[in-house]
Every structure is written in structure tokens, then in C-alpha cells.
């Protein structure tokens, strides 16, 4: 599949301010975050004031203004996961990696995030490691998962 460019994203959306959120989604999906440059481009091409583009990008949780770490650990904090101990999981991830939710670890390997609900409540507590879902998580299982991710990345780094 050819890489999506800003040009593809803007196609059919120019001078249509109401397309802002859809365009931001595509930027986020393809580039991993919303850079200052893309904010400026969207402002110019869609005809939305720069400040408004920034405001929208900052308002919605779906958009990130900085790149994420190599591994993204997402802890579901929905009510169903909460009553099954999701807070302990978030504490585990943030303590183990020494970051706050949303931050990237110093080595750039991890970002810890929390999400309101993934809609997989029956299997809670749920943790998503990159694209893989892990159900019925416990602090112990999460610790091992994070260790495994970290080790793999270090090995890959050494090979290269």
C-alpha cells in the first residue's frame, strides 16, 4: 500500500472547515501524531484559523500533539475494568516505567495510556499492548508483559 501523504488526506477536503476532525483523524492514523507543521497545513488548506485547529486538536483525546513511544501500553479504565482492579494496573505500568499516563519513557520505548472504555467489558480488566488485547489482566501479568516488550526491543537494538 503506498504511503498516505498530506496531499491524499487533503483531497476533496480543501476549503471545507467541517472536515477538520476527519482530516485530523487521518493525520493521526498515518503519522502517529499531529505535528505543528500539519496543524499549519490543515489551517491553510481547510480554511480554519490556526488557533481553532490547535484548539480542536488539543480538545479531543483521539489526537496526540507529540509522538508516542515505540510500545504503547493502554490500560482500559472503564467502570467494568475499574471494579476488577484496573487502577492497580495503571499504577503498575506507571511505577514500573516511571512515567505518567501519556508520557514517553526516557529511552523512547514506552508510552502508558489510559482509555475510558474499550467496549470489551466482559473480559476486564483489559490492557492493550500495541494492537494486541490482553484480557483478565493482573498486576503480575502486566509486569511480565512490560518486561517482555522491553527485552525484545533491547535485543532488536543489539542485533542492529
Amino acid at each position: 500500500m503506498p504511503a498516505t501523504t498530506m496531499e491524499n488526506i487533503l483531497e476533496g477536503r480543501r476549503s471545507q472547515p467541517h472536515q477538520l476532525i476527519e482530516a485530523l483523524h487521518d493525520v493521526q492514523d498515518n503519522f502517529g501524531y499531529i505535528s505543528e507543521e500539519s496543524i499549519r497545513t490543515l489551517s491553510q488548506e481547510l480554511g480554519v484559523p490556526l488557533m481553532e485547529v490547535y484548539r480542536v486538536a488539543a480538545f479531543y483525546k483521539a489526537f496526540k500533539l507529540t509522538p508516542s513511544g515505540k510500545n504503547v501500553i493502554t490500560v482500559c479504565m472503564g467502570t467494568a475494568c475499574h471494579v476488577r482492579g484496573a487502577r492497580l494496573l495503571l499504577d503498575q505500568a506507571t511505577t514500573q516505567l516511571d512515567v505518567k499516563p501519556g508520557e514517553v519513557t526516557e529511552d523512547g520505548l514506552f508510552t502508558v495510556e489510559h482509555v475510558n472504555c474499550l467496549g470489551a467489558c466482559a473480559l476486564g480488566p483489559v490492557v492493550v499492548e500495541n494492537q494486541t488485547y490482553h484480557d483478565h489482566m493482573t498486576p503480575g501479568k502486566l509486569r511480565n508483559l512490560i518486561q517482555r516488550c522491553g527485552c525484545q526491543d533491547k535485543e532488536v537494538g543489539q542485533d542492529a
Partner: protein
């Protein structure tokens, strides 16, 4: 398939599809809902497909990856017809046996059947399983009939015949009359009468009107809209088309939560398929009615579930609500008359038009008609999606369908209605699931989330959880919500961390009352509910935190200590090895001890101990 230019062409296509499927003797329906997908139902579908081909059954067996069947706890689940045979926890390794034994020889595989935990008996058919037996699945059962990505399946199941019927003979006024007579009320939480909303929009002046499907299911602990939109997107679209015809709208939007990638994908595919057949677009089925639908992805803001905020978001703006002095039915999207209904509400419309208002109104209670899908989750045995007639007592759902407590701890409460709802104690479980009855009891049916809590759930912690959620999600536009929730959270945090004072409980109630009366939108007005309802029914728990510095459920970290049960500990050493803080000491095969000063209460030892020997109090 060519574009359909008349009602007759639609029926002709349906007949020819049915004829094509005549050689099919068996249908295998595998749940492809999120729960079963996590349990690798995709691999199972592939494996079964291969086996069906290699065992020469390609023409006689239809394999269908469907939307959610509801019983997520047992996933991946599948049903084989004829026979209604229900298999659970199926893996791709079972594919050969399922094909060679069940499909070829008609033998049931005992190992894959569901075992009733109460009696220990294996149950062969889906209909006999208590989880399903006590439900009344009207919408969810249709998920089994279709592959969500196949408009052909939907047509074979009778799809778009309600639209065709309406366009052929029902005036907008007739449709509105039928929906009103059915007593359909908004399934998204508000419970506003759908017919009245439609009438208001129909009567509003202007040629440009919109209909919107609210699929921004932001309630944590609720996923029924996801199951319906993901599993049967054409039914939602058909409902929207009928609504658009009734109010005179030319354009519709599905505003769907971006955290549900399958729902986004399936609804997009459904729109493309409907357009290709001429069921969406100009002159639908050759009639004078033109209508199109676009899919818009939400940005992950809970407040956008509120109608005016959602509409602002659709316009590409920040999702802030506005005062609703003029209803959105009159001045909504781009200031034009707009009907906004939730996924489940739209999905109910086609059947109402086909079977009539009386059929729909025959189910339910006096003020709440039809069925409701509930997301039954939390500390309960059978988690999953459940559909019951409105008016069913909470007891039936929690104990008969849900199977009661999961871990041996008695059930204490159920939280309904998400962050806008409340917690009801077990002695209120005889209450009927009805819009008005739950509201009177200080909670709400909301969009249908039911999170069950047991004695290990702390109600102060639950209140704090919802306040943190709402503080994070408040758009900040109005002061009562922005600052009021902050202050309530501050107080509840004090209580949860052992700094609470008795007089703060009255202050919480006063604050809650003020916010409820003065906030701008529904989010703020209902934000105090989780605190007020827990204060009303579980005041003793708040008092235990304040007066005794004790969290009875063992949840609030500053008030609890971890210790080891001398009777259960066998000195295996797992906890000692797992503790990252070196807080556990003990010789092998001797009782281990936790050093309270070093313990960080991270919970690892508890999750690792196989003997349930770690105590929290």
C-alpha cells in the same frame, strides 16, 4: 449487483438470493464480536472455512462470522443450525471435529458444550442455556442472521422491506404516528419519546433537515451500541432512512466512536453497499425520496454524546454543548432541524414499521415499551450483552441471567446509567428496569450499562472514579460543572485517603444539588448522581472511611494494609519472588510475612498467590 430501480426489483433480488441459498443445509454462526475476537474467533473462522472446503461441504454449509451474540464470557461462541447447537470456548483446533462430526454426521461434541455451573449439566442448545433462556432478544438475535459486511444476508433476512413498505404507502405523518403509538423512547439515556422528537422536526420549517445516529457510546462499561452497529449496520441505516423519510431529511450522519474500529469499518461498508444498490442516494428504489448517509468518527470526548456537543463536533468544531432553549429538532446541525437518535433507537424502527406499533408496545412496562439491551459487567458470573423486555426486575438480570456473584463475595450493588447514573443496593433489586422507576430511585437506565459490584467494591472509590472521569471529560464551558466537579472530587479524595471530616458529607450533598440545578448540559446536570446515590444508599461506607479510617471493601490504598493468612500460606515463596519492593520475608515452607513499611500495595503478591492467602483489610 445492478442498481435497484423499483420495489419490485428489490423483491426480485431477494427471491433470487433465497433461491441461490437453497442448497444450504447447515449454517454455522460464529460470533465475531469484540470479546470473541480477543479470544481468537478470527482464526477459528479461517480454520473452519478450510475444513468445510476440504471435506467437500462448500455448497451445503454456510459459514457466517457474525456480530456479537452476547455471551462474551464464554467466547469464542458459535451456533449451528439446524439444531441450535451451542459450542463455547471453541478454538481453531476444534475445526476438524466440528466439521466431520457435527456437520457431516450430526453428532454433538460433548466437550464443546456449555456446562451449567449451577447443576453441572451440559446443555446442548443455545435456547436452553439460562443466560439466553431468560432473555427476550429481539435486536441482538438478528446479529446471528447476518454477516455485518453482507447486504445480501440482510436482504435474505428480510432487510429493507420496512423501508420499501414505508415508501410505498406510508406518509411521513403515518410513520410518526406509528412510532409514537409504539411508545419508543430514546435508548441513549434520556428516554425522550422518539415520536415526539420526530414530529417536532417534521413540523419545523425549512427544506434542509438532518438525521443523526449517535454511536458515540462513551459510557464506560457499556457496549451495546457497538454490538448493534458492528453486528447489523444495515438495520441501523434502514431505521435512519425511515426516520429521514418521516421528517423530510436529505442527509444523515453516523457519528461513531473512533475507539470502535470495527463499527467504523462495518458502517462504512454498509453505506457503500446500500449506495451501490440504490437503497441510499438519489431516488431510492425509484421513489421520489433521496437520502444519503456519511460516517463521521468521534474524537474521544465523552461530552460529545450530548446532542448539541455532538453536532458541534460534526461541524468540525470543539465539542462544547450549548443551551437547548430551542430544541435541536428545530435548530440542530448547521442550525437546521435535526433528529438525533441513538443506535439502538434507530435499530428498533424497521421492526416497528413492519410489525406495527402494537407488537412493539406489547412488550415492556406501562411507561417504557419494547426491549432494552444491557451490558452486564463487573463482578458477576455471566458477563455479556443481555436483552430483556423493559420492566424486567434487576434481580432477573443479575441473578437469573447473570448467574450471580462471580468470586464468592456477595453482590452489593449495581451501577446503572454510567457516569450520569447511580448505584442501587441489592435490596432495591426488585425494581423494574424502566426509565421512570430507576430515575425515581436516584439512578437511571441510561444507555444500558449495568456494572455489578460486590463486597470487594468500595462505593467511595466508585464515586471517586466517576468524579475523576467527569472532571477529565467536562468540557469546561460552564462553571458549575468545571469547578463543582473539581470540588466534589477534592472532598471525595479526602475521604478516600483518610482526611475526611463528618461535615463534608452534607457539603457534598449541597454541592451536588447545586451542580444538578445549574449546569449547562446533561453531563453536568447528572454528574453528581454517582456521589448522591452512593451517599443515599451507602452512607455507612463513607462514615467508616471518615470516622474509623477504614475502607470496608479493602480498596482505598491509604486505608488498607496487606497481610498473609497464616492458615492458607504454605510458604511456596511465589509472593516473595514477585514482590518488587522486597517487602515479603519468609523461609521456604514457612509462613511468609509482609513488612507493612516497605509494602507499596501494588497488588502483585495477591494476583500471584495461588492459595488466596494474601489478605487486604
Amino acid at each position: 449487483m445492478p442498481r435497484l430501480n423499483s420495489y419490485r426489483e428489490l423483491e426480485h433480488l431477494r427471491t433470487s438470493l433465497l433461491e441461490q441459498r437453497q442448497p444450504i443445509t447447515h449454517t454455522v454462526m460464529i460470533c465475531g464480536g469484540p470479546g470473541c475476537q480477543i479470544a481468537h474467533s478470527d482464526g477459528l473462522v479461517d480454520a473452519l472455512q478450510k475444513e468445510i472446503s476440504s471435506q467437500g461441504l462448500k455448497d451445503s454449509v454456510a459459514l457466517r462470522a457474525t456480530g456479537c451474540h452476547g455471551f462474551c464470557e464464554q467466547g469464542p461462541v458459535m451456533v449451528i443450525e439446524p439444531g441450535n447447537i451451542f459450542y463455547c470456548h471453541v478454538s481453531s483446533q476444534d475445526a476438524f471435529e466440528i466439521v466431520s462430526q457435527t456437520l457431516v454426521r450430526g453428532e454433538v461434541i460433548d466437550r464443546l458444550l456449555y456446562t451449567d455451573p449451577a447443576s453441572g449439566v451440559k446443555i446442548q442448545t443455545e435456547a436452553e442455556i439460562p443466560f439466553y433462556r431468560d432473555q427476550d432478544q429481539q435486536l441482538l438475535s438478528r446479529n446471528r442472521l447476518v454477516d455485518p459486511c453482507s447486504i445480501e444476508d440482510y436482504l435474505v433476512a428480510g432487510g429493507y422491506s420496512a423501508l420499501s413498505k414505508v415508501l410505498q404507502g406510508a406518509s411521513p405523518a403515518d410513520v410518526i404516528k406509528e412510532v409514537t403509538a409504539a411508545g419508543l423512547r430514546g435508548r441513549g439515556g434520556g428516554g425522550f419519546p422518539t415520536g415526539r422528537k420526530w414530529l417536532e422536526s417534521y413540523q419545523a420549517p425549512g427544506d434542509e433537515k438532518y438525521v443523526i445516529c449517535n454511536a458515540d457510546e462513551g459510557d464506560p462499561g457499556a457496549y451495546m451500541d457497538r454490538a448493534v452497529l458492528e453486528g447489523n449496520p444495515h438495520q441501523v441505516l434502514e431505521g435512519m432512512m425511515i426516520g429521514a423519510w418521516a421528517v423530510g431529511a436529505q442527509q444523515g450522519y453516523v457519528y461513531v466512536r473512533n475507539e470502535y474500529p470495527l463499527a467504523v469499518q462495518h458502517s462504512r461498508i454498509a453505506v457503500e453497499q446500500a449506495r451501490a444498490l440504490g437503497i441510499l442516494g438519489e431516488n431510492i428504489l425509484g421513489s421520489s425520496f433521496s437520502f444519503d448517509v456519511n460516517i463521521a468518527r468521534g474524537g474521544g470526548a465523552f461530552v460529545c454524546g450530548e446532542s448539541t456537543a455532538l453536532m458541534a463536533s460534526l461541524e468540525g468544531k470543539v465539542g462544547e454543548p450549548r443551551p437547548k432553549d430551542v430544541h435541536t429538532a428545530v435548530e440542530g446541525l448547521y442550525n437546521k432541524p435535526t433528529v438525533l437518535n441513538n443506535v439502538e433507537t434507530w435499530a428498533n424502527v424497521p421492526e416497528i414499521m413492519l410489525r406495527g406499533a402494537d407488537w412493539f408496545a406489547a412488550k415492556g412496562s406501562s411507561g417504557s415499551k419494547g426491549t432494552k439491551i444491557l451490558a452486564l459487567t463487573g463482578r458477576i458470573k455471566n458477563t455479556g450483552l443481555v436483552e430483556v423486555a423493559m420492566g424486567t426486575p434487576i434481580n432477573t438480570v443479575v441473578f437469573d441471567i447473570g448467574g450471580g456473584a462471580a468470586n464468592g463475595h456477595p453482590i452489593k450493588a449495581v451501577q446503572t446509567g454510567g457516569p450520569s447514573g447511580g448505584c442501587l443496593p441489592v435490596d432495591k433489586f426488585d425494581l423494574a428496569l424502566d426509565f421512570d422507576i430507576l430515575a425515581e430511585a436516584g439512578s437511571m437506565i441510561g444507555s444500558g450499562g449495568m456494572v455489578v459490584m460486590d463486597e470487594e467494591s468500595c462505593m467511595v472509590d466508585v464515586a471517586r472514579y466517576f468524579l475523576e472521569f467527569l472532571q477529565d471529560e467536562s468540557c469546561g464551558k460552564c462553571l458549575p460543572c468545571r469547578t463543582g466537579i473539581d470540588r466534589m472530587l477534592e472532598i471525595v479524595t479526602d475521604i478516600a485517603e483518610g482526611r475526611g471530616r463528618p461535615e463534608q458529607l452534607d457539603l457534598l450533598e449541597e454541592l451536588g444539588d447545586t451542580i444538578a440545578q445549574t449546569a449547562l448540559c446533561g453531563l453536568g446536570k447528572t454528574a453528581p448522581n454517582p456521589v448522591l446515590s452512593t451517599l443515599r444508599y451507602f452512607r455507612a461506607e463513607y462514615e467508616a472511611h471518615i470516622n474509623e479510617g477504614r475502607c470496608p471493601a479493602g480498596v482505598c490504598k491509604p486505608l488498607i494494609t496487606y497481610s498473609i493468612d497464616a492458615d492458607k500460606c504454605n510458604g511456596c515463596g511465589v509472593c516473595l519472588r514477585s514482590c518488587a519492593y522486597e517487602a515479603i520475608n519468609g523461609e521456604k515452607k514457612q509462613l511468609h510475612v509482609i513488612n507493612a513499611e516497605l509494602c507499596q500495595k501494588c497488588g502483585i503478591c495477591r494476583s500471584e498467590c495461588k492459595f488466596d492467602a494474601i489478605l487486604v483489610a
